[in-house]
Symmetry: D2
């Protein structure tokens, strides 16, 4: 690799940052149970501390997404402590995530529920989240709805659509200028017949009706089998509607595995489309939000997060290697084998040494996982937290 | 069933008409081969004659969709003969279907091809189709694109998107007022990496940019596994973007089986959403086009078409039985078991006697397939066409 | 329907019994939370009482499957009470279900875990379950494993296969003559990369190696998209390996919805293959075990179970209507439309009146759900159990 | 990489050979049409010549699978010419492939057809193929059946199962010692309701009943969405039932794309399981047959084949890098992140230089595709064949 290429990759890596979810450091599970880890974080302070470890060892994850209900149960009036903790730890608090699924009132949905009390609760919670985001001083809140039905006939699909439209419109308008409202879609789970925002097309339609501060959020695990996610990503960028990502990998459903663990070439292709939209089509991709959203119920949480950031960086750097002008020439000649080979050559280039050099230049250990393991952090907090909490786990999935 | 209900069902059945595809009477196959039938139609006259049989025995299929390339190879100047034939047979010529996939020039796509000659060919063909539609005096043309790529890197997804946008916009504007341009989507096949119009969201985005005469066409076989088609249908109606349907059934991919042969309850639910949009939400659903698009490579073609029309009528009539006001009350009370039972009771009501009565009132035999079999038509045309053509088959799939 | 047909259906219905799962009366949920119901059962006595309601109103569900861990935490020495309760309530205790997933030791699997302590725990629990089944005097225990891995490389697939083989062989040999060991398969969840018993072929291979008392259990929700379940069922019967079913319905993954709620025609076709194997091929299908395994986290539990039994009876009775000799004649003539119509006619026959008559003859109300609702049972136990437990829920999923 | 490692990889590469399918050099297509290439081969001599090119430039593909119907229409008595041609070209004729789907008689199946004449035809053809294989002096014939049904009720699944069993048993017994009969499975296409050999479990059951010379053939495109193919492969090896592979890649259905073009990490994992079965479990994997089976309807055929062999070698070599003893240690410690990283490190090692060195040592150009392009072969035969055939295409798919 030439020095010019290397410098270009370094610059692109400098700009590539991944937001970490506070809930990714807490115990999670499946409906069959939750496997507890002694070092799992319970409090927002512990989550910030763990996230700060990931940032310290990677230099690429300075922002922490928070969950309104689990992290700020007392609301916008109680942000000073966590903000100060974050500052001390060298991280910032990023996207605010509401919770529209946990309360018993949400049994039949939140914004779309036939129960007006559930809709009111969702409305109040949303306005609280905006207030929380303002108090934190962040620029984003991100909405995922479990709303849907389990049985044909259970509820009226179009009535629910109108409820969602009016709720999102209201919340969009309450979102201050400079703040983005991300709208996530998901084909199924926990609703098993229909989900009110089932695909990117529905999310896009709702965003269009809401206004310019509403953008679509792509969770890489929220698609039907076979969906071409990089195509959706490119399409959304071109429509001006891509907000960002929840990163995870999957083989079957919304498996929430670590990114690239099942299909790394697909992740590479997503990054390729993003770089392509920027380099060949002049789209501004600098606002795209990259956030991890995984369920580390088997892997140690901080290790899994380090592995995720490192792997995402590698796949992003590989995508940055693609010579898109040369590619366009081959495509124009319909040289299929040549074009594919050019793309694949970037994927097969061993980029790990470049990443190691980038880390060294930033004063970080070239092998983040080994360095983290050597630090003894996990054993230490595991001991501390077990003494503090016993086997009690914090709020969260499952 | 009360007399009032029966009259209401009869009226709704009077309004429910299914367009038949001329190519559904010709030999078709899979990539592994084509199974020939002696009675398969080759000429447009034979296709119209066969379609007229289906209408004669069902009273519900007076319109025949045509394929520009296979049925009118000589173009808009040669419509007089077929029009006269149709008139004599008591049917009309309906939707015009272009062909953007058969010519060798379309190897890398049509409207999206990197080859300008392919794009020009598609453009000229489209304008020819509009001219043909005008000459025929019909109100619709319906576009399906095989465009896409087979390999990552083969072509630039966003460049192709822009090509599609400008082509559709141009053709929309050339579509006269009063004529609709249907835009179909499909997730895969024959393109196996990405398809330029892959889902309803993309079709809707292209229609929005094209203008008010562009509407989305839903082929029931063109979805990824698990997609909730009735949800998409309801959503599109509410957005004012649903044009119509290509009916067929599938278990795996775009299997093109006869409608309801695999999942009749799903077809019933689609009709339920359409009736619901009309009855509870005041949407005008009278313009929705119902067209058959199946590949009868094993079933005798006319029998398969009769079976299709009869089964679609049954499933539609069952959907008309749903008491939607009562359903809304149960839904409002979140009586899940009650609401589901109400919907399912309509599905399980044996409607075949009502259909038989409806046919009798129209002077049609109550059992269309038996009556058709008794007519000896298939044996007669099988003999005639074998004498005329030998084993040569007409143009068409596979 | 002729009197002879009716008598035949009545006899077949008399023989068609569905086992109810004790855990189907307790609170369940998804990984996103559990929705509690005041009337949810916690103790084995309450579960038996609820199940007895379902049997009382349907006459078709006299057997209750139990869960070793949740229902008999104290083991084989404490069965006298529940046995007496069951006897009083007019039901019997059926299949014993071990639990190989809930304990923290099972984090990496049970029988296949790399941790010998986990394997020992699974072994001891299995022998305890056999002892429990003997103490209860039942003829079946049914094994489902969550064993698998989440990441490529996590563990050695073949080493795990050998562990499973030796565990099942040992447990089979400990299973007394006259008792059946059912082995269930599942493609994914909670393991998201590989599952040690992933499909029917693996379950069958393990059963063959274990011995004649091991049989495959088909959970209708445990298949990849598109799998032809009725084909698998017919194949297993012919191989002498079909044990029975866990009934539920699904649209996407293992959704655990009530049977027939999504695809009733598929359930009908499963019953058709079973009846066909018996009537045309002379297979003994009398030992096939039909058990409900659903997650009623939204529907009221007893109502959902009543609806399930009633719907299963209807679909089974429809399958009993098929004239298989006439069908074989049409199949032999490759009369596709005729054969399909014959099958479908059985499905579309309104059987609800016949079921009502069958119930009357047994002294049961013809409308089980209405009769149950009129009984006031749910409100009464809801009140009692809320007073007793508050909002505490019992052990179980999620 | 150490010299010892390099030598080991070189030895393993020497043993890794991929059989090329004669039909992969002929025009193919989808049901929507066939895109013709001037250089496409029509005669068996041309196919052998093209395959010899691939072997000449890769050194890894000395064997050519043939198709009985398309390549040897005159049967076992006419093998001398092709055998001599192959000898001259430095390749050998490998597996014989029967054709059970092309004749009109096979409309309702071959071995399973309700039509005895179709079954007789399949039987005669099979015996002819065995005779052909003997005449050629090869050690394998490979059976794929399109048999199945398109509609519920169309035919009796169990009757068809028995027909398949007796046919395979007879053909197995007619297969001489030292020859293997591969049995392929496929979930759907061209049969769209049920396929008589739908999955590996059915293929394995048929092989077990046939006898020791019957083995399962895994086509990597013949699985339902999400199927863990490497798990199936490992399981079959352990059961002594894996025969070999038909290599191709897919994103949706049986897309027949070039191997690794969509999911290279999956191909790597298949090779990992094979090496693992050999190195850790002592299985003999030397008899596993690797054959390409793709449909190059867009890519130039020889280029696509070169790309395939080169890519398969790369992925195989990466799998050979895995230190399985170290991996087992990490697995035993349940070090998930460590074990996964070890596996992935092998995948991310840039192996292309090692391959180039291996080629140089064998006297082959280090860049097969570039060297082939420089040779001018394609233009030359394209011209020759166009002059000879015009636009007529040879027998084959679509």
């Amino acid at each position: 690799m030439s020095q010019i290429d290397r410098d270009r990759i370094f610059t692109l890596l400098d700009q590539f940052q991944i937001e970490l979810p506070s809930w990714g450091f807490a115990d999670t599970g499946t409906r069959f149970g939750k496997f507890v880890q002694p070092a799992a974080a319970r409090s927002i302070e512990e989550k910030l501390a763990d996230a700060a470890q990931v940032h310290a060892f990677t230099g690429a994850a300075p922002r922490v997404a928070v969950h309104a209900l689990w992290d700020f149960p007392e609301g916008a009036g109680h942000v000073a402590g966590p903000l100060q903790t974050a500052r001390k730890l060298g991280v910032t608090i990023g996207t605010v995530n509401p919770n529209y699924f946990q309360d018993q009132k949400y049994k039949y949905g939140s914004a779309c529920s036939p129960d007006p009390a559930a809709r009111d609760m969702a409305d109040k919670h949303s306005l609280d989240c905006i207030a929380l985001a303002k108090a934190i001083g962040t620029d984003a809140w991100s909405l995922w709805f479990a709303d849907g039905t389990n049985y044909p006939g259970q509820d009226d699909i179009l009535t629910r659509k109108k409820r969602m439209e009016s709720a999102l419109k209201k919340w969009h308008d309450a979102t201050p200028h400079g703040m983005t409202m991300y709208v996530e879609y998901k084909p199924f789970e926990p609703a098993f017949y229909h989900t009110d925002i089932a695909d990117w097309g529905m999310a896009a339609a709702f965003c269009r009706k809401s206004g310019p501060r509403a953008k679509v959020l792509v969770d890489t695990g929220h698609h039907l089998p076979g969906a071409n996610i990089e195509h959706i990503v490119a399409f959304l960028i071109d429509e001006g509607l891509l907000g960002g990502f929840h990163f995870n990998d999957r083989k079957y459903a919304d498996d929430d595995l670590t990114i690239g663990s099942i299909d790394p070439y697909m992740v590479f292709r997503i990054f390729h489309e993003i770089r392509n939209a920027a380099e060949l089509h002049g789209h501004d991709v600098s606002k795209i939000a990259y956030t991890v959203d995984q369920s580390h119920n088997l892997k140690p949480k901080i290790e899994a997060m380090l592995q995720t950031v490192v792997h995402a960086q590698e796949l992003y750097a590989k995508a940055c290697l693609v010579d898109r002008k040369a590619l366009a020439v081959l495509q124009g000649k319909t040289d299929l084998v040549g074009a594919e080979t050019l793309l694949r050559d970037a994927f097969y280039t061993d980029i790990r040494g470049v990443l190691a050099d980038w880390r060294k230049r930033k004063g970080i250990d070239p092998d983040p996982i080994a360095a983290y393991r050597a630090s003894g952090y996990e054993a230490r907090v595991g001991k501390e937290r077990t003494e503090k909490y016993g086997t009690a786990t914090g709020g969260g999935y499952a």
